[in-house]
Symmetry: C2
Subunit: 471 residues, 2 copies
């Protein structure tokens, strides 16, 4: 394909996406395909000879599109908002089109330096001190794995340079709660700590980590000869957006010299609002921190911002310097390969840079405030309605609700919940994802796609009532 | 930004990239900026209010572009070819514009099923048996880390479910060579094995792992009470594209029940040529395998193909199933979050799908053959020229050369090498990356960007002679 052919086909792709974004609100939110259906419509062998773009666009319309669940739909209330705002999309288009890689500073200086600048913009926007340095990872799963690896190496005094985790005499222990994201447990297991050395600390009635329970667990472990390695606290848990008491946890971590990682993957976006920063009060006492700009904020996936207090330690754990990657500039620059797992790196800063510039900080703040207001309004409607409950505090944009008709309890209530959610989702009008809270199914209403207005939330509420109450 | 504004600005971005690709061959290949120069030209604070795209495009031209090293330049001979071919770029544009995520099959069925189909196309194209299952990771660094974690959990019989690596009584050992990619050592250290338990196996005069040395090392470790956990063999090492003897290594691995991971990140692209498959003869005896479609093949970064023989084992090591990600389809589908580290997943299959369809298998094969021919031709020129040497076999597209004027040895020779490469790179005409081989600096000429023709290789050779010979 020549650049001129690319120009024409590129317009056609842009048209296709512009049309898609224009009509997405009319499409059924949840994909309506059966397992294997898409696969069954695609040839099992690759084409020997070139195919036309007419054929490719036909397949996009007929095979690809019907099998998508539409995350950019204004009535997508599932999982979390993963806004790929259009300015950010354009930033990513620039990145992919340029096709440059960051293996080292030298391999594309702008790639590294813009990433430094933009992660620092975000640091300022969230009110963090200049003691934090940032880098872009792919996901919070990876950021948290990096954090736990760094914690492991700190407490073991760089055991990786000797016998690794295999030579540890005292068990190294990791602390989190049952409300922590699944990636925390996964990261701890992959980092080699072992399930026996994970402590699920009790949470309180607001689903936040109990600081006294954390202290007890730590002290019990220390008394038993174990070595606390890391605490993962969450600002805005996945299920209910609960707020672990960071200040108290940081104090405990500080007393015992334990690594504190704060998972603000979802809620971090709200920290661009000064009125929300009480939610992670104490965060300056943490060692590492993850905020996914590819969630609520609006950067196209993947754009997970990982901040550390001690960049030197991160580099010491992650660094490699084979001869084929060395350059004369190495002493004066950041080589971001030493800031995470992968060596290769896309020019991801562009998508965040364009987003912030096109929206302005004020624009981003206004949208986050709109969503907070919508969540508050929605929670009020639920609370004011008979047989409906809001099950957890609503500090952010997720509202956990259940319809509890008189007489329905236990498994019968679970069945009722899953049934009406299934009907709501099958309608194609909205999309919700249920989850388990205190052992019972309930519904997480996650508000905040870029185009979700009050009328969308109102329509959701009407449909929920209709399907749950059978009116 | 509305979809209609996106349409207009999208055209402008496409134009900018089409223009960039048209003119890239005229730009200096290596960036000509000093450390900190780009950063110094960008504001340290984010804009409070929206900025215009006119301003953004001006900054792209004036600040971003001059600080790039141009990987898509036809005279880029550094590192490795990272072809972001234009059809693949369009596939990525579709992915970013759609903004859908694969957290589970349910969260966008097409995303998962197209990934299954396209990784299976690639499996067929490379002549692998249907015992292999594929998934897309970001980079080979990550793929290799996943492989070593799987090896660790196999040999420890899922120690992660108990005391983790901390409870291992016998040291678990990992084997590779000094020619293995730096990511292998990094992955082994991060997986917790510890440097004392890494064995750098001797390589032969062709820079390939010595199978007898591997056998010796294994047997010595076993006799000493250690437990061999994994062997990483490479098809096409980074420095010289050396070919470890996979068949012999697989036999040894099989005898001792040791996990064998094959790193074919670079060379895997050549396996679409039947005449190249002798290079990884025995690969069917491996347990895992990585091929980076984002290198020579032409898929836009990131698109690292990771294949495993035992998908169930991979899933058992990586799986998580929190309630908020469960769906009724779970028993019948693949949930790719359980096939690697991150939970979230871009629709990466699109860029590989479009590449293969636009080129056809025959088109991809023809280009790889062209590059092999160019490398052969280049090596012949070097060998036929006085004072120049080809330092390693050239099975693929990388030629390791040195200019060795009479009387120059040792550090003086190193200085000469680094000096003339520096002059070549500063010319802006071509880009080369030096590396150390057998303790001395030499030059890797890595041939194979999408637009590199014979005339580009000839121009490189003329310039190398000019700068090295001082003619």
């Amino acid at each position: 394909m020549t650049p001129e052919e690319f120009r024409k086909l590129g317009y056609r792709v842009v048209d296709w996406i512009a049309d898609y974004r224009s009509k997405v609100s009319k499409l059924p939110v949840m994909a309506r395909v059966a397992p294997g259906e898409v696969k069954g419509r695609l040839p099992s062998d690759p084409p020997e000879h070139p195919e036309t773009f007419d054929q490719i666009f036909r397949d996009l319309d007929e095979i690809i599109l019907p099998g998508l669940t539409h995350w950019q739909h204004p009535r997508f209330f599932g999982y979390f908002p993963a806004n790929a705002m259009l300015a950010s999309v354009l930033g990513d288009y620039l990145s992919t089109g340029l096709g440059v890689l960051g293996l080292s500073w030298q391999s594309s200086p702008t790639l590294t330096e813009l990433e430094e600048v933009v992660t620092d913009w975000m640091r300022r926007m969230m009110g963090l001190s200049d003691r934090w340095s940032g880098v872009i990872q792919d996901t919070a799963s990876t950021s948290t794995l990096v954090a736990l690896l760094c914690a492991r190496e700190k407490v073991s005094n760089y055991g990786l340079a000797r016998g690794g985790l295999q030579e540890e005499k005292r068990p190294l222990v990791v602390y989190f709660t049952a409300q922590s994201h699944s990636s925390v447990e996964k990261a701890a297991l992959l980092a080699g700590f072992g399930r026996n050395n994970l402590r699920v600390v009790a949470h309180d009635g607001r689903f936040a980590m109990s600081a006294p329970a954390l202290r007890d667990a730590l002290e019990r472990d220390i008394a038993a000869g174990a070595l606390p390695a890391a605490i993962v606290a969450t600002t805005g848990t996945t299920t209910t957006t609960a707020l672990d008491p960071i200040a108290e946890i940081a104090e405990i971590a500080g007393e015992h010299g334990v690594w504190l990682h704060v998972d603000a993957a979802m809620a971090g976006s709200a920290m661009i609002l000064p009125e929300c920063r009480w939610m992670w009060n104490g965060v300056e006492g943490a060692d590492s921190l993850v905020v996914n700009a590819h969630k609520w904020l609006g950067a196209a996936f993947d754009c997970s911002l990982y901040y550390v207090r001690d960049a030197q330690h991160l580099v010491r754990v992650m660094s490699t310097s084979p001869s084929y990657l060395q350059s004369a500039a190495d002493g004066q620059v950041k080589n971001l390969r030493d800031w995470g797992l992968p060596l290769g790196r896309r020019f991801r800063a562009l998508k965040l840079w364009l987003l912030i510039r096109e929206q302005g900080v004020a624009g981003l703040q206004a949208r986050i405030r709109r969503d907070l207001e919508n969540a508050k309004w929605f929670a009020e409607q639920v609370e004011a309605t008979a047989d409906w409950s809001v099950l957890a505090p609503v500090p952010l944009q997720t509202v956990c609700v259940r319809h509890e008709p008189p007489g329905l309890t236990g498994d019968a209530l679970d069945r009722h919940t899953l049934d009406w959610v299934e009907r709501v989702n099958r309608s194609g009008e909205v999309y919700l994802t249920p989850a388990v809270l205190d052992g019972r199914w309930m519904v997480r209403v996650s508000i905040g796609t870029a185009d979700t207005g009050r009328e969308d939330v109102a329509a959701l509420w009407a449909l929920m009532r209709q399907e749950a109450e059978g009116r």
